[in-house]
Each structure stands twice: as structure tokens, then as C-alpha cells.
């Protein structure tokens, strides 16, 4: 049974949809003033400062940890630099109990929820206090108490999962939604289509938030898709869709706040496309000078989302240069001190190698573990991280 209500024509007519261009919501200019006709969303001073402090924290954490990676203290790192307004502005428009399923560059959302610098460091260094028990590469954070699903490296797998999670929220009558983040590159994966289509068909309270930051590692957006961004795909699924200036904290916040209403109150999933720019490299293993120009980067540096919010806060007299200096100094110190502390903590116990594969360690795996322990006892000097755990015994 087809459900199309299309008009009938008698000569072939093709369309590629370009007669309809999706607009971009902008509210805040770089100098901190509002665009004519734009109205700032209702954000309290307290909330605005929580957002701003999180943006600055994320920027400083990223700077320091990339430096730590360069010094060889850390194996790997990924920065959110340039995308802080997209990530933190959207997280701030959620309820703190809404589920977040991120891709990997959304540490700002987790910081906004209250993940401490200690908690970040424990994961980055994979020490005994890492919730993930040292099993995943740096930046694969997760927190059940903060409703932030542990990051998984495969791209876009979180998208249909978000649809399922949100379906469960709807069935439970929880009045919560699921926020799922992904990049414009990940949107090429089959899982994007699967998750979007199922969300629209099954009417789930989910927000699909695309960080269109221009690059998937080195591949520019114009080699990723032929269409005008990701937003037009929302139409194909009959999903409410909006595009925003991703460096505009007020626009991101407002769009997400409205999207959440549609999702939670009407079970209408929403696609949000935030137009932004990955100012940093893809990861510590990447070097953007091989595929883009300094001039291009400079254009986007001039649109820095943090500076834009700073200018707005100054105009509102909610913030000052003195407070800025103090925040930056305190954060730098806290990051450094915490890093030193986290680095000194021991690695997770040897047992964590075999737990959590299943709810209980199966017999065959247990045998493998016993064999390993006997081997380590024989060559303790070769296994400095775990020899201490196997001393004594036969």
C-alpha cells in the first residue's frame, strides 16, 4: 500500500530537491550582539555561565591533553576545538537525565553534565579508577550516572541504537529523550539511514544531532556527499529538520530546546544539522596541513564559538575579563595537577582482562586466565603491570 499523495503529471519531470534550500538559524553575531529579528532564548545567568565555563574547560582540557600526547604521556587524543558551541549548547538544552549517545568528539557534553577532570584523566590514562577499566583508547568515556553512553569507535553504530533506546524511553513513559551525535562523515554509513528511518517510522523521542564540521579526517564534505549538507535527508524520512550555525551558542541552544519539545511531547524525532568547523586535527595522529590551508582555518578561527559567547556575556555584564583570567588559570592548574595524579595511579587489575566479557567468566576463559597467570609468574619482569597481581600461589 503506497501512501504517496503526490500530484499527477503527464510529462516526465525530474527534481533533485534544490528548489527548496534549507535555511540556517543564526542569532548571535561574533561581536556578541544579536542579529536583527533574532531573539535570545530564555537562559538564566547561572545556566549561561555553566555553559560558558564548560566551553572554556573543554578547550583547556583539549589543549593540555594534546600537549601531553605530544610529550608522549598519552597514546592518543581527540579535540573538540571549534565545535564547543554545537556540543555544549545542545547538551545544555536537554534535561540532565536524557540519554546522550555520542560519537567521540563530544567530551564537552559530558563535561557539562558534571564529569570531573579526575574522571576524564582516569579514562585517558586507563588507570585503576577508569570506569572502562583501561580497555578502550583515550576519549572513549562513559558514565551511567550522567546518562552518557560509553563511546564505541565504529562510526554511526550509535544511531540505530539511539532509536532503540528512545523507543524504550517512550514505552517506559519516562518523558526523557535520547540525544545522538555524529559527524557529517558518519552520516554516510548505512547505520545512519537505518536509525533515521526507523526513528521516523516508530516515532521515537530522539534528537539526531549532526556536527557538520567540514571534514571526515581529511575528506572534505564536498567529497562526502553531493547534496546541500545532511539536513535534506531529514525530508526523505519525513523527520522534522533544522539547520543552525553551529558556532552560535544561542542558535544551537534554541534549536535543540525546540527539538526536545517535539521529541518528548509529541514523539517526533528531529534532525539538527549544526554547521561548524573542526579547528583541530581529526586526532593526535592526524596533520591537517596535508589537506587544507591556513587561510581556510583562519576564516573559522575568526568565528570562534567561545569568543562569540564571551562577547555576549560581557555585553550582558554576566562575565568580566578578570573572571575569565581566573577561570583560565584555575582550569590550567587543575588539569595539570589532576593529570599528574591520574598518571601515578596503577593500572586496572589483571582480572579485568577477563571480567565483563559475560556476566560471569566462562570455564574455558577461566582456564586461559589461569594459564596466563602461571606464565606471568614465570616471567614477572616481562609483565610489570600485572606481575604484582599474580605473586604467591603455585
Amino acid at each position: 500500500m503506497t501512501t504517496t499523495k503526490s500530484k499527477i503529471v503527464y510529462t516526465p519531470e525530474f527534481t533533485d530537491g534544490s528548489e527548496y534550500r534549507i535555511p540556517t538559524l543564526k542569532l548571535l553575531k561574533q561581536d556578541g550582539t544579536l542579529y536583527k529579528g533574532g531573539k535570545a532564548p530564555d537562559i538564566s545567568k547561572e545556566k549561561a555561565l555553566r555553559i560558558y565555563r564548560t566551553m572554556v574547560t573543554t578547550r583547556i582540557l583539549d589543549e593540555r591533553m594534546l600537549a601531553a600526547q605530544r610529550q608522549g604521556r598519552l597514546s592518543f587524543y581527540m579535540q573538540c576545538t571549534g565545535e564547543e558551541a554545537s556540543v555544549i549548547g545542545s547538551a545544555a538544552a536537554l534535561d540532565d537525565a536524557d540519554m546522550i549517545m555520542a560519537q567521540y568528539r563530544e567530551q564537552g557534553a559530558l563535561a557539562y553534565r558534571g564529569f570531573s577532570i579526575d574522571e576524564f584523566m582516569n579514562q585517558l590514562f586507563g588507570n585503576e579508577k577508569d570506569y572502562g577499566k583501561g580497555r578502550q583508547m583515550p576519549v572513549h568515556y562513559g558514565s551511567s550516572k550522567l546518562h552518557y553512553m560509553t563511546i564505541s569507535s565504529p562510526l554511526a553504530t550509535q544511531i540505530p541504537q539511539a532509536t532503540g533506546y528512545a523507543y524504550g524511553q517512550k514505552m517506559a513513559g519516562s518523558k526523557q529523550c535520547t540525544m545522538v551525535y555524529f559527524g557529517e562523515g558518519a552520516a554516510s554509513e548505512g547505520d545512519f539511514h537505518a536509525g533515521m528511518n526507523m526513528a521516523a517510522v516508530h516515532r521515537v523521542p530522539a534528537i539526531f544531532f549532526c556536527r557538520n564540521n567540514g571534514y571526515a579526517i581529511s575528506t572534505p564534505a564536498n567529497e562526502q556527499f553531493a547534496a546541500d549538507g545532511i539536513a535534506p535527508r531529514g525530508f526523505g524520512y519525513k523527520m522534522d529538520t533544522i539547520r543552525v550555525d553551529g558556532n552560535d551558542i544561542l542558535a544551537v541552544y534554541q534549536a535543540t530546546e525546540e527539538a526536545r519539545k517535539l521529541a518528548v511531547e509529541e514523539n517526533r524525532p528531529v534532525l539538527v544539522e549544526a554547521m561548524t568547523y573542526r579547528l583541530a586535527a581529526h586526532s593526535s595522529s592526524d596533520d591537517p596541513s596535508g589537506y587544507r590551508s591556513k587561510e581556510e582555518e583562519a576564516v573559522w578561527q575568526a568565528k570562534d564559538p567561545i569568543l562569540r559567547m564571551y562577547n555576549w556575556l560581557l555585553k550582558k555584564k554576566w562575565w568580566s575579563a578578570g573572571e575569565e583570567k581566573e577561570l583560565q588559570e584555575n582550569m590550567r592548574r587543575e588539569v595539570l595537577e589532576t593529570m599528574k595524579r591520574a598518571q601515578k595511579l596503577p593500572p586496572p587489575p589483571l582480572e579485568s582482562l577477563v571480567t565483563d566479557v559475560y556476566d560471569e567468566v566462562p570455564p574455558l576463559l577461566n582456564e586461559q586466565f589461569e594459564k596466563l597467570k602461571a606464565h606471568i609468574r614465570k616471567y614477572p619482569d616481562e609483565y610489570p603491570k600485572s606481575a604484582i597481581h599474580v605473586q604467591g600461589g603455585a
Partner: protein
């Protein structure tokens, strides 16, 4: 007790699971009002509503991705993949996501409530794409449980156990037996243990091991072999992952011989894994090489299906050769 075929037993298990726990949801392609192409979910939508038993779009990676998210949220998804041959678009969601969810999060999150049901195996003139037995691909993935029932009684008890087990489980249903296998099934809820093989018949000359639809093949072969005076011990492995090494090894220590049979191709099949482990455990007790009777290393054929198939004659020959080695 009631006489049921395997489909009725599966349907009964789903019905009981949905009645007992409102968080159990059944979904997949055509599972809604139609009840699935094999009718395993018949009447569930009518009974429990469209929210708990529903059709999904035709996208296997979406079905399993959805199930992963739903399980992480705390619901009990029972996702159907219409044929095991079509499970591969969901391979990433199963292997990289379901299987690793608990481990990678340090047990902050898990998808243990999830069960994937999928019909597998040949013997229905299904050709390349309605006949495969892909259990070995998944057996290479720590974190999953893989279960295969041999008859209606087993199907009901093992499916209920799979739904309630706190680990993601793939439940392979031998579709050749859906209607062909009929037997007494207890009424009401009962669970059979996962991770435990079952010795169906004791014997002293040779251990014959299989799972799922091959157990019927083994029965026929063993009947022939016993007429020749060979005493066979028959074991249904039931759970492929994690598998019950102890029961199999104990049997082979006694008989000194092992014949393993599965429908999937020889190379990389799960029989190879069993053979490797058992020769390690039972090396000095073995009287003959461990034999594998399996599908051939070809795609699953159509017209020459019978030739390809590890039928009772091939299993019988392997038993004879093993004992007379």
C-alpha cells in the same frame, strides 16, 4: 504436556515471556500482524499490541542496532532476523556492539537482555541464501552466547533461558524442523540451561556430537551403526558459545573416538574448534582421528543439495571408519 511442533513451541515461549514481563518486545521484518514468514510470532501483536510486537523496516543492521539500544535502556528485545543468511548486514552491530557493550564500558552498560532469533540451515530447497548455518562466524566473538535447539521441548526451554540470560544471545532455529519436529512440550514456563551439552544416549565405542537439526541426522546414523554392533554415545552440544568442553571431553575419555557433524562448510567450521580442544584434553585416550562430517567448502547448492549435505549415510560411514580405524 501438549503435542507441539517447533514453531508452536517457540510461539508459546514468546507468548509466556511477553506475558511474564511487559518489557519483552518482539520485532523484525513481517513479525507484526502477519506473525512472521514462518509464523513464529503468530497472534503476539493481537495479544500484546502493536507497541510490543511490530514490523520493522527492511534493514537488518537497523533491527539489531535498535535492539542494542533497547536492551541498553533496560527492555528485553527479541529481534527476529528473517533468515540467518540475511544476518550479515547486522554483523557489525552484533560483533562490534552487542558482544562488546559490557566489556568496553567496564560493565556500566550492557545489552544482555537482547535475544536474536533467526532460522538457519538447509534441507528446504533454499539454495545459497535460505540455507546457511553461520554459527561459526559468531562463535569467534567473545561476549555472545549462541544456542541451537534440536526439538520443540528444547526450543521452548532454551528460548526462555536465552531471553532471560543476562548476555546477548543468538538463537538459531533449525527451520527444517519448524513443522517436521513434533513432540511433547510441558505447559507453562521452564528454562533449560545454557552452556550445557546434553548426553542423549550413552555408549562405549564412539561419541557422536552435533546440534540443532543434525541431531535427527545423528539419530538415524546411530540407529544404523548400532545394528552393526557399534555402541554410540550421542551428545547434543545445544550451546555453541560458550561451549561445554567438560561433557564432551568426559565422553571422549570414555569412548576414545569422536565424530562431529554440522551443516556449515568444513573449513573454519565449529567442529574444527571442538576437535582442537578435544585432542588437547584426550590425546592419550584417542583411538582414532577425530572425524568431521560437514557441508562441503562450497556455497550452499540447490539442485545438488543432497550431495552436499552431511546426511545420515555420511555420518554412519564416519562412525564406522572411526571405530574400525
Amino acid at each position: 504436556m501438549a503435542k507441539m511442533n517447533m514453531l508452536q513451541a517457540i510461539n508459546d515461549a514468546l507468548d509466556l515471556a511477553m506475558a511474564a514481563n511487559e518489557k519483552v518486545m518482539c520485532f523484525g521484518e513481517d513479525v507484526g500482524v502477519f506473525g512472521g514468514v514462518f509464523r513464529a510470532t503468530s497472534n503476539l501483536q493481537q495479544k500484546y499490541g502493536k507497541d510490543r510486537c511490530f514490523n520493522t523496516p527492511l534493514v537488518e543492521q537497523g533491527i539489531i542496532g535498535f535492539a542494542n539500544g533497547l536492551a541498553a535502556q533496560g527492555s528485553f528485545p527479541v529481534a527476529e532476523i528473517q533468515f540467518a543468511d540475511y544476518i550479515f548486514p547486522a554483523f557489525d552491530q552484533i560483533v562490534n556492539e552487542s558482544a562488546k557493550f559490557r566489556y568496553r564500558s567496564g560493565n556500566l552498560f550492557n545489552v544482555g537482555n537482547m535475544t536474536i532469533r533467526t532460522p538457519y540451515g538447509g534441507g528446504i530447497a533454499g539454495g545459497l541464501y535460505h540455507s546457511q548455518s553461520p554459527e561459526a562466524y559468531f562463535a569467534h566473538t567473545p561476549g555472545l552466547k549462541i544456542v541451537v535447539p534440536r526439538n520443540p521441548h528444547q526450543a521452548k526451554g532454551l528460548l526462555l533461558a536465552s531471553i532471560n540470560d543476562p548476555n546477548p544471545t543468538i538463537f538459531f532455529e533449525p527451520k527444517r524442523l519448524y513443522r517436521a519436529s513434533v513432540g511433547e512440550v510441558p505447559e507453562g514456563e521452564y528454562q533449560l540451561p545454557l552452556g550445557e551439552a546434553e548426553v542423549l544416549k550413552e555408549g562405549s565405542d564412539v561419541t557422536v556430537l552435533g546440534w540443532g537439526a543434525q541431531m535427527e541426522v545423528i539419530d538415524k546414523a546411530v540407529e544404523m551403526a548400532e545394528k552393526e554392533g557399534f555402541s554410540c554415545e550421542v551428545i547434543d552440544l545445544r550451546t555453541i558459545l560458550p561451549w561445554d568442553v567438560e561433557t564432551v571431553a568426559e565422553s571422549v575419555l570414555k569412548t576414545g573416538r569422536l565424530v562431529i557433524t554440522h551443516e556449515a562448510p568444513l573449513t573454519g567450521g565449529f567442529a574444527g574448534e571442538i576437535a582442537a580442544t578435544i585432542q588437547e584434553r584426550c590425546f592419550l585416550y584417542l583411538e582414532s582421528p577425530i572425524a568431521r562430517v560437514t557441508g562441503m567448502d562450497t556455497p550452499f547448492p540447490l539442485v545438488l543439495e543432497k550431495e552436499h549435505f552431511p546426511n545420515h549415510l555420511k555420518v554412519y560411514e564416519a562412525i564406522r571408519e572411526s571405530v574400525e580405524f
